[in-house]
């Protein structure tokens, strides 16, 4: 028998409705938003609801009454022989009824706390409700003796398709632990998805800060016993990712082990030696079809850059014999000369070529754009690697943290395109059923400020809108959800809200979230998320353990 904590109160001004009801409870009863309560309802059914607001009221009609009641402003404790009559009343949002009876709950019906089974029923987490379960954390409910932990499982069909796909994780830097949460989910998928769904899945991660993800196959030696227990309670191992390959951007600098990375050169060398790491480069020959990606961040409203790109892709004179980046620059240089200065007549205006030159020159400054590629030295082309070698269970970690913005965009765009092309047309029989693309700092590629013509934005929109049917799942992460393109976030079936700030929650993205939850979002602690998923009956406040892979607290 669960503890009865109060009774429904339906008044003229605050009636019970189909969606919500109020109940009164003792002023010392500790409850929190997101706690679930149940009420006896008609036909022996039970209505479950999620606490939204908690108010404390007394019979004092005004603050003036309170002042007078304290002997006209005396600040002594315990004025009088008793405390003013007070109680808490709680607003509850109905989540479900066991017999689908949605008439408002009746006044004076008893309200009680829930046990684990109740909570599962209330949120749609019971075994009956969740087919293809995928653990995404746990929720902790009530305080003191009544406290319970319940694993939260999502129907993977609503996260990885076919019923819904993509997740968007938002939250401010540091305090929200966005990467840790995404990695927790991805680890659970790597561990459970194949065995429980009989489908294959591969992962492509981008490392965008420090060396965060550059040791995800090494155990976290500082993982506490408490966290280990949480992993085991959730049915997961506390081991790091398996089958991981690291891809570092090539550098000419030998001191840094020929990579541009924040990872320690010795670590990189060790990974290369162990056959886990490779260096990626982009040769002109392999990149000619994706030169447009170099210009992803340039505003091209008049389409001048695009026409230059098409000119080169079509290998029109003088680009028909170009085979390397320096030659490309030379040829573009030629096009920038007017006929008076010895240039050749060209259908695109010289001024357009000059703009194109400026942009391309800036973009290909990075060492990754180079003329030669030797696979025997551990150098690869990412597109080839994806289309030929990405298989079930594999995790590709592509380090772009140290690259400049243009190069980062190019790498991201090429990889996204390569995955798309692989799913559309590669001819091998071990293509994974699902490819999960983890993109940190999504605002770089799909913010509202990105030029609408950006090829990377178009690529992301394609993935967001059509990726579900192709099996490309986007795990996107950003600080401010409100800054992200509507069509990208709108297509994410699952949303995870981490700690954010008051300005952000005042934006229209959060309009449908109750005020109390909005305020809670500004107070969430690291490791705490508010999740919305079509298969869940309500927003759920979840927690997750610390990452099981090696951490670099100082970057």
């Amino acid at each position: 028998m669960t503890k009865i904590i109060g009774k429904v109160s339906a008044t003229e001004s605050s009636p019970s409705t189909i969606d919500e009801f109020y109940f009164w409870t003792d002023k010392r009863q500790i409850l929190s938003p997101f706690d679930i309560v149940k009420v006896e309802h008609e036909c022996n059914s039970t209505t479950y609801g999620v606490i939204e607001e908690i108010n404390h009221v007394t019979d004092s009609p005004s603050h003036f009454t309170s002042y007078i009641s304290s002997d006209f402003g005396a600040i002594d404790d315990n004025v009088g022989n008793m405390n003013r009559l007070g109680m808490n009343y709680v607003k509850v949002r109905v989540s479900c009824n066991t017999q689908n009876i949605y008439t408002p709950v009746l006044n004076d019906r008893r309200v009680s706390l829930c046990d684990e089974n109740d909570i599962k029923v209330a949120l749609g987490l019971s075994e009956k409700d969740v087919q293809n379960p995928l653990v995404c954390g746990y929720l902790q409910m009530y305080q003191g003796d009544a406290s319970i932990k319940v694993p939260v499982v999502l129907n993977s069909h609503f996260l990885l398709g076919p019923d819904g796909a993509h997740i968007n994780v938002s939250g401010i830097s540091g305090l929200a632990a966005k990467t840790s949460f995404s990695m927790f989910l991805l680890k659970a998928i790597q561990e459970k998805f194949r065995t429980e769904n009989n489908e294959t899945v591969a992962f492509v991660f981008f490392n965008v800060k420090g060396r965060d993800l550059m040791a995800i196959d090494e155990p976290n030696t500082e993982l506490s016993g408490k966290d280990q227990k949480i992993y085991s309670d959730l049915g997961l191992s506390d081991q790091p990712f398996e089958n991981v390959r690291y891809y570092y951007p090539y550098s000419k600098d030998k001191i840094t082990a020929n990579v541009q990375s924040y990872a320690h050169p010795d670590d990189v060398k060790m990974q290369i030696k162990a056959g886990k790491a490779k260096k990626y480069k982009f040769t002109y020959e392999k990149c000619i079809e994706k030169i447009d990606l170099l210009l992803a961040n340039e505003d091209d409203s008049s389409g001048t850059l695009e026409s230059c790109v098409n000119y080169i892709i079509n290998r029109q004179e003088p680009f028909n014999a170009v085979d390397s980046w320096p030659t490309l620059l030379e040829k573009i240089d030629e096009c920038t000369k007017t006929e008076a200065n010895g240039g050749k007549k060209n259908e695109i205006m010289v001024t357009s070529w000059r703009k194109f030159k400026r942009c391309v020159k800036k973009a290909i400054q990075s060492n990754i754009f180079i003329s030669n590629l030797n696979e025997e030295n551990g150098e690869i082309d990412l597109t080839d690697e994806i289309s030929n070698n990405l298989t079930n269970g594999q995790v590709m970690v592509i380090d772009i943290a140290r690259l400049d913005d243009n190069a980062q965009s190019f790498v991201f765009g090429s990889v996204a395109r390569a995955i798309y092309d692989m799913k559309l047309g590669a001819e091998r029989d071990n293509i994974p059923d699902k490819v999960i693309l983890f993109v940190d700092e999504l605002n770089k590629y799909a913010s509202n400020d990105v030029p609408k013509s950006s090829p990377i934005l178009q690529q992301l929109l394609d993935i967001a809108e059509r990726g579900r049917s192709l099996g490309i799942i986007l795990f996107s992460v950003e600080q401010f959800r409100s800054a992200i393109h509507d069509r990208v976030k709108g297509n994410c079936a699952t949303q995870a809200y981490g700690r954010t700030n008051a300005i952000e929650v005042s934006k229209s993205d959060y309009r449908y979230i109750p005020k109390v939850y909005q305020n809670m979002m500004t107070r969430l602690s690291p490791g705490e998320y508010i999740i919305s998923n079509p298969a869940l009956r309500s927003l759920v406040n979840i927690r997750f353990p610390r990452p099981a892979y090696k951490q670099y607290p100082n970057g």
Binding site: P61, S62, T65, S70, D71, V79, L85
Partner: protein, 391 residues
């Protein structure tokens, strides 16, 4: 069938109901009997009724006493409340009388600690108050009323809503229609007479509830009861038999009656001066001496004193934060122990906080637990629309 139709039909011509407008007769000014307003004592000077006989006009409840009162003396709080409705005019023979109905609620709350305030017991009654002539054939009154009440309830029980909610008429009261000038000469005489019957029923219930508390040994030297209003009950204003009534008088050793409305000129002080001046000049936390007051009918004696509850200049009038306190003297000529009076007074001062400012105009001399008990009683009323629709 509704009650009026039933009475007409069942009476076979004895009674006619005119189905006039139903009225709620509720504000205090309509009370015929204000128990807090006793006739002024016709004595030159009143006797002091406390152990300290010193001829001081006022006594300050000092900090020491206040400290002693931090362990509360009062655990029980009792209040009664009533609503009276005029539901019709009924013709009996060739005379027309008002047909009254009433609801009374008497509640007692218990306080265990600063935060635990609960109902101890509550009584609610729905009453009909009809003229004595209603007993058409002059049957034995008690039997007639009981049997007629059963008949009405049987009829009411046919209504599903009434049955489901357990609503019934608890008692039929017959009010006198003659025998006093107040009744025959006043144009509202019948109405007042009928209302008085309902009021009497309420005070009887209050006394029965006190008796029950005593029977259950709830009241002792550490657990006193505050009764809202005067505790001077008059046997002639009771629906109980004199024997029953007399038995109830012995239950008041640990009961203090606290009145907010009082006639300050009720008594003269030991010097023979009107007490109203002393009361008006009471300083904060001062009380008057305790005076003796004989109960009407001279059956027993009361001790009463006045106490200023608050230290403030915000009072509306000089009387608005003063209460009248009453206790029953155990024997004629007896006195109250002065220390007990001081402790009771200190406790009453502490009971004045928190206040019900903003909720009740009488906040300045209202005691908070009494206010809560009153609110609790009122919350127990059946909705008046339901009551009026029974008729």
């Amino acid at each position: 069938m509704k009650i009026l139709d039933f009475i007409e039909k069942d009476g076979e011509g004895k009674y006619s109901c005119y189905k006039t407008k139903k009225l709620i007769l509720d504000s205090n000014d309509q009370d015929t009997l204000d128990y807090d307003d006793k006739p002024a004592l016709q004595l030159n000077s009143a006797q002091i009724a406390e152990s300290d006989m010193s001829r001081k006009e006022t006594i300050l409840i000092n900090a020491h006493m206040m400290k002693l009162a931090s362990t509360p003396l009062f655990s029980f709080f009792l209040d009664g409340s009533r609503h009276v409705y005029k539901v019709d005019d009924i013709a009996i023979g060739n005379r027309i009388f008002p047909f009254l109905a009433g609801q009374i609620v008497v509640g007692c709350c218990v306080r265990k600690d600063r935060d635990t305030f609960k109902c101890h017991s509550v009584t609610r009654k729905v009453l009909l108050s009809l003229p004595r002539n209603f007993n058409y054939d002059d049957d034995k009154e008690a039997n007639f009323c009981r049997m007629y009440c059963e008949k009405i309830n049987e009829e009411l029980g046919k209504n599903v809503f009434v049955q489901e909610h357990g609503i019934k008429i608890d008692k039929i009261l017959l009010y006198p229609t003659d025998g006093s000038k107040d009744i025959t000469a006043d144009k509202n005489g019948y109405k007042n007479s009928g209302t008085a019957k309902i009021q009497n029923e309420m005070t009887d219930e209050e006394q029965l509830m006190v008796a029950q508390l005593c029977k259950n040994n709830c009241l002792d030297n550490e657990h006193f009861l505050i009764k809202d209003g005067s505790i001077e009950y008059n046997s002639s204003y009771s629906n109980l038999s004199t024997t029953e009534w007399n038995q109830l008088r012995s239950n008041y050793k640990h009961v203090v009656g606290v009145s907010k409305l009082f006639n300050p000129d009720l008594l003269r002080d030991f010097k023979g001066h009107r007490l109203s001046k002393t009361i008006a000049n009471l300083k904060p936390y001062e009380r008057t001496k305790v005076y003796r007051y004989p109960a009407s009918g001279n059956q027993s004696e009361f001790a009463m004193w006045y106490l200023r509850l608050r230290n403030s200049n915000f009072r509306e009038t000089n009387f608005s934060d003063v209460i009248k306190c009453e206790m029953v003297l155990e024997e004629k000529g007896g006195v109250l122990d002065t220390q007990l009076v001081d402790i009771i007074s200190a406790n009453l001062i502490r009971e004045a906080y928190p206040t019900c400012y903003g909720k009740d105009n009488r906040w300045a001399n209202h005691l908070y637990p009494v206010f809560l008990t009153e609110s609790f009683c009122k919350s127990n009323y059946i909705n008046q629309n339901i009551i009026l629709n029974l008729f």
